[in-house]
């Protein structure tokens, strides 16, 4: 539409001897209206879907977070949000969430990069890929059941340590904070590294070999080639891997819930678990809503800050 009505850019096109006759206004308006209608029709299902299943519940959750949890719920102002300053369990939950964010971003990315670089272009890279992707294909609940068998106090790991004479190293892996949170983050990394490896391998295979050859001819060593040639070209993949890990870390629930149910006490809860705990077990939907709102703001904020910075740097 615009191409037919926009004036030709002066200087790039020879001036036509006779100006093209413009369409009559009613016809233009009809076409424009039809296009707008078509665009609206295509967008409506998506807008409705997002509105009904995402935005409306979110708006309800924000609204509910300003009400107390008595039988006849009354307006409570910011009381539910003040719990983040006064409730020890929630403070611990925020600490754990921060640990999770750091751990679930750094570990899968670093391990994924290491494994991908070590196995790329080797004969057994396909086998290695298969090995690391299998945990990713398992559900979080299944992973938790298996690791509970390994990590419980009388579990496989401690029994192994005893068998090889390292009984002094055996400990209650899932009982003492912050060790239990760190151990669960490692379990999460075990599962999440697979997809990072696959994505980074795809990125590595997309790097033109000429760039590496040119760097070699210029006398660059392996580390310099990796640092100055490979790594910059993996940037788009890295953005995806880190972005996914960030979102997964913040919303992680199934693994934690099956492994420890946020316990012992509330020691390993993250905000996602606290939200469930407060809403459904402690039956405080107001407090649960406040946690949901804070978690959503953190996820959106972190994702926006990260992606904006990355895409800006790429010039996108």
């Amino acid at each position: 539409m615009r191409t037919t009505t926009a004036p030709p850019s002066a200087g790039h096109r020879p001036p036509s001897p006779e100006p093209r006759p413009l369409r009559p206004d009613p016809a233009r308006r009809r076409v424009a209206a039809r296009e707008r209608f078509a665009a609206g029709a295509f967008m409506t299902p998506a807008v409705l879907l997002v509105g009904v299943v995402l935005l409306a519940p979110f708006a309800t959750t924000v609204y509910r977070s300003f009400f107390d949890d008595h039988r006849h719920s009354g307006f409570a102002g910011l009381h539910n949000y003040q719990l983040f300053l006064t409730d020890d369990a929630l403070l611990r939950s925020v600490e754990n969430t921060l640990l999770w964010v750091v751990g679930t971003v750094a570990l899968p990315f670093a391990l994924g990069m290491l494994i991908a670089c070590l196995t790329d272009a080797t004969r057994w890279s396909r086998f290695a890929r298969l090995c690391v992707i299998i945990p990713y294909a398992l559900s979080g609940a299944a992973v938790a059941v298996v690791w509970n068998f390994v990590l419980s106090t009388d579990g496989a790991l401690n029994q192994l340590l005893s068998a090889v004479g390292l009984e002094s190293l055996s400990t209650s892996w899932l009982l003492d904070w912050p060790g239990n949170t760190l151990v669960i983050i490692c379990v999460n990394a075990w599962q999440a590294t697979g997809v990072a490896v696959i994505l980074i391998l795809v990125g590595l295979q997309g790097i033109p070999p000429e760039t590496l050859e040119a760097a070699s001819l210029d006398g660059a060593g392996p580390w310099q080639r990796f640092r100055h040639v490979v790594l910059p070209q993996l940037r788009p993949v890295s953005i995806i891997v880190i972005g996914m890990s960030l979102a997964n870390g913040l919303k992680s629930f199934d693994l934690l819930w099956v492994l420890t149910r946020g316990g012992p006490g509330r020691a390993t809860e993250t905000l996602a678990v606290s939200m469930y705990q407060e809403t459904f077990l402690l039956q405080r939907p107001g407090a649960g809503s406040a946690i949901a709102v804070v978690l959503t703001v953190i996820v959106l904020g972190a994702s926006w800050l990260y992606l904006r910075r990355q895409f800006d740097e790429k010039g996108a």
């Binding site: 008595h70 106090t153 003492d176 316990g263 006490g265 509330r266 020691a267």
Partner: protein, 438 residues
């Protein structure tokens, strides 16, 4: 495809994109409508009463009970099982507000039931209770957990007791006999420990098991205090609670308890193999013991934990789920008829033989000889029947206290700090409960 004109140029005629999208749209709309429609599962079905519950593993038992119910009432049971307890609670609470509520629901007795009754969504079953009482088919001791403001809203599904299971062959091999006093219990624990077994199963894995030893030690220290405590009339920092926590901590220090992350699921097999000596649990655990190839009286038996003091009043912790009839049940008559016949001896025999647990009807003898023997002893000793901890106080108080007890079991909190935290929570939650009541 079509827009490029291939079909028009004589290609094999096939579904157009528009037709495909229209078909897809219609299909999705159909699915959406079906999803949004009111559930047909709870709609009235001739000759049946729908039964919403959170335990699908008991479906065979419901079928047996249904066979016994049908000749009595004309209605079979139609179980609608939701396998996850929290999800069940949410689904049931939502369905109760519709015009097609299930005819019968299984619900947690005590304060969970009181909360539901308070919302006005349940039918008053006082008439049914009276009829059962007249025939001697119900025990008045269960009434507290089933009533709200004097009216009864639930009929007990069964009656379980918290007891200590032990392996008969292991006790025989070590020359131990069933402890009747606290000192004899300590002796059993000492001998078991000396012989490489962990004397007691005690865990916080799964959340709720954290209160099993708490309720047991407090009630065996002072049952009247236990009752006052769970009713909000005594404080968690009072002397009997401090004493009970001291005993518990002493057990843990001596290595008499399993690790706090012990999975009770493996308890039956470990009891059979002698790796654990005594397993404090409810009598519904008999079904798990059978699953581990243990026969009652031959491979396992059970006793009620002795009182800490010789003169302490004898008691036993009891538990039962409740059967309730929603006010808006799709087939209210069917629900009332089947709940009204649930405690009939024929139904209870079929049901409790399947469950291998005690019946809520005192005249029905349990099919499992261990449970039957326990019931006889409980009656003979005139033990006070106490309501299980999780049903005896408001749910949010219990949930919070379970977390404190978990922290205590893992050494994160001292006994004193645990009790203080529980006391503070009790003050807060009872205040909220009473405000809501007012």
């Amino acid at each position: 495809m079509n827009s490029s004109g291939t079909a028009a140029r004589g290609g094999r005629p096939g579904p157009t994109r528009r037709r495909f999208l229209a078909g897809l749209g219609a299909g999705l709309s159909g699915l959406a409508l079906a999803g949004c429609a009111r559930g047909d599962s709870t709609a009235a079905v001739e000759g049946t009463a729908s039964f919403s519950n959170d335990n699908a593993s008991w479906d065979d038992g419901y079928a047996l009970a249904s066979k016994a119910l049908q000749p009595l009432t004309g209605y079979a049971l139609r179980p609608l099982s939701v396998p996850e307890a929290v999800a069940y609670k949410l689904v049931a609470q939502m369905t109760l507000q519709t015009s097609r509520a299930p005819d019968i629901i299984k619900w947690t007795s005590g304060y969970e039931l009181k909360k539901l009754a308070r919302s006005g969504q349940l039918t008053d079953l006082s008439g049914l209770w009276g009829a059962y009482a007249d025939r001697g088919w119900i025990s008045e001791s269960q009434r507290d957990a089933m009533q709200y403001r004097g009216a009864v809203y639930g009929i007990p599904m069964h009656e379980s007791y918290y007891v200590v299971f032990y392996s008969r062959p292991v006790f025989a091999r070590l020359g131990l006999r069933v402890p009747e006093t606290w000192d004899e219990l300590l002796h059993c624990a000492t001998v078991l420990k000396r012989n490489g077994a962990t004397p007691f199963v005690g865990t916080q894995y799964g959340g709720w098991p954290a209160y099993e030893w708490f309720q047991e030690l407090i009630s065996k220290t002072d049952p009247d205090f236990y009752t006052a405590l769970v009713e909000g009339k005594a404080r968690y920092t009072d002397e009997p609670a401090v004493r009970a926590m001291g005993v518990w901590q002493d057990f843990m220090r001596k290595g008499w308890m399993t690790p706090p992350d012990y999975d009770q699921g493996k308890g039956a097999a470990e009891l059979r193999d002698g790796r654990v000596g005594m397993f404090l649990h409810a009598t519904w655990h008999t079904k798990n013991l059978s699953g581990a190839d243990m026969e009652p009286l031959k491979d396992y038996d059970a006793f009620v934990l002795p009182t800490v003091g010789r003169s302490t009043k004898k008691s036993v912790i009891t538990e039962s789920s409740a059967l309730a009839v929603p006010r808006r049940a799709a087939s209210h008559e069917a629900g009332m008829a089947n709940v009204g016949a649930w405690l009939h001896p024929d139904v209870q025999r079929a049901w409790t033989d399947y469950l291998q647990d005690g019946s809520a009807n005192p005249v029905v003898r349990a099919g499992n000889p261990v449970v039957a023997g326990l019931r006889d002893n409980i009656a003979k000793d005139r033990r006070a029947r106490l309501v299980r901890y999780s049903e005896a106080s408001p749910p949010s108080l219990i949930q919070g206290n379970i977390q404190d007890l978990s922290a205590f079991m893992t050494g994160q909190m001292s006994p004193g700090a645990t009790l203080r935290s529980m006391a503070d929570r009790a003050d807060e939650e009872w205040k909220t409960w009473r405000q809501d009541e007012a």
